[in-house]
């Protein structure tokens, strides 16, 4: 447990030393989501309609940016080897890496989303649902992304492969996440979508670290 906290603390410390990583993902999200209102023009009805999908796709692509570096640096400098032979089970350490990734590239998106939602003329209720959906959805993106990052570790041209591998797996999160906001706007209530999203999150939280660990062990052989 201590080792897991140490990993989270170290990763956050390194991000603080080199802020470009967290800021790149965040500004990518801001810019991509802002292009749509600028391109479509002042049509509130249309903007409200596309808002959930656009914001979610923006968040999806923004988390993809930092994904490849999740294990790559640790692999290159030998830290991953030390993690693999640590008395602490590797799966806990991997979970620590995933938590750190979410804190760095998921949580800022959750906090920024309501501000961007205003551009799409979403009301307060819809903004709340959007935040809640992203709060459940972004950890899911980090968890699933970790499997892809571990599988493509050390592969040449891994970046593109990673996108091809991970983006299809993001589809359920996209459907239920954007669906939650849409059904709230339509007056149907977001409960169903959010419950499903939470269920997928719980399942991924259980299985994804194991899958990522198995992939890392193969990469280390």
């Amino acid at each position: 447990m201590n080792a897991m906290l140490a990993i989270i603390r170290r990763d956050l410390l390194m991000v603080m030393r080199r802020k470009s990583e967290v800021l790149t993902a965040l500004f990518f999200f801001v810019i991509v989501s802002s292009l749509f209102p600028l391109g479509i023009g002042p049509e509130p009805a249309l903007l409200r309609k596309i808002a959930p999908g656009v914001l979610w796709v923006g968040a999806l692509l923004a988390t993809m940016l930092g994904l490849q570096r999740m294990f790559a640096a640790d692999h290159a400098d030998g830290t991953l080897e030390q993690m693999a032979i640590s008395p602490t089970p590797l799966v806990l350490l991997v979970l620590g890496k995933i938590v750190a990734h979410w804190l760095v590239s998921g949580l800022p998106l959750v906090l920024m989303a309501p501000v961007l939602g205003i551009q799409f003329d979403l009301d307060t209720g819809a903004l709340g649902v959007l935040m809640l959906a992203l709060l459940l959805g972004t950890p899911l993106l980090s968890l699933i992304g970790a499997i892809g990052a571990a599988l493509t570790l050390g592969v040449r041209g891994g970046g593109v492969l990673l996108s091809l591998l991970v983006l299809p797996l993001y589809v359920p999160a996209l459907i239920f996440g954007a669906g939650a906001v849409e059904s709230h706007i339509a007056g149907l209530g977001a409960g169903g979508h959010l419950s499903l999203l939470a269920a997928i999150l719980v399942m991924a939280a259980f299985f994804a670290p194991w899958a990522a660990t198995a992939a890392l062990r193969i990469a280390l052989e």
């Binding site: 140490a6 400098d77 830290t79 080897e81 032979i85 640590s86 008395p87």
Partner: protein
């Protein structure tokens, strides 16, 4: 304590070594020698449990290391080719993180002492990125002085070290072995450390 029986290592379709037996007891150290590409690093990675042998078994205190994973790892310190140092962190932070990975508490005074011993006084708060290659190596080696592991598995520990650091490291290994520790290391140099045996690959 550590013994290997009939180890066979296969890389691609090449057999690096077949049916290798070795053992190290408390107060002994093994010098693994061989040409480049003979499988020295592969052997050390097998001993560290990072990869699995094609055939054969490695035992720690009579138990296969697969079964005694956690106890074996608590007693093991492995140095690979890469230093496992984070360039953006200071020497002190790197040592603290390495200790956390090893599951041990590290007092700051102990870490400082180890860094001083390796001549890094005044550099403990600098990011590792600004240190020279040899100094980075010294930061890594300072970890040896802070960690009470019984078995040291060191892959080319003398690379990039100056004469003084080589001597320092030899003393450190001698002390470790004299204190009932074990070490397995690869090096192209001959080392004046008593109690050593050579494994030729």
């Amino acid at each position: 304590m550590l013994s290997a029986h009939g180890l066979t290592c296969v890389r691609g379709d090449r057999r690096l070594f077949v049916g290798l037996d070795l053992s190290v007891d408390a107060g002994e150290w093994l010098h693994v020698r061989g040409e480049n590409g003979a499988g020295k690093t592969s052997l050390l990675r097998l001993l560290a449990g990072l990869s699995q042998p094609a055939e054969g078994e490695i035992r720690w205190c009579g138990q296969p290391i697969r079964d005694t994973d956690s106890t074996y790892r608590q007693n093991l310190l492995f140095f690979g080719h890469h230093g496992a140092l984070k360039e953006d962190l200071t020497a002190l932070e790197n040592l603290a993180f390495a200790a956390a990975m090893d599951g041990v508490e590290l007092q700051e005074s102990n870490a400082m002492q180890a860094l001083y011993r390796f001549g890094l006084k005044g550099r403990e708060e600098l990011p590792v990125r600004v240190l020279s290659a040899g100094q980075k190596r010294r930061v890594m080696l300072a970890r040896l002085a802070t960690r009470k592991a019984k078995l040291w598995v060191l892959d080319e520990p003398f690379t990039a070290l100056d004469v003084k650091a080589v001597e320092l490291l030899s003393v450190l290994i001698s002390e470790h072995v004299a204190g009932g520790g074990m070490a397995v290391l690869t090096s192209h140099q001959t080392m004046p450390i008593p109690g050593g045996r050579v494994v030729q690959l």
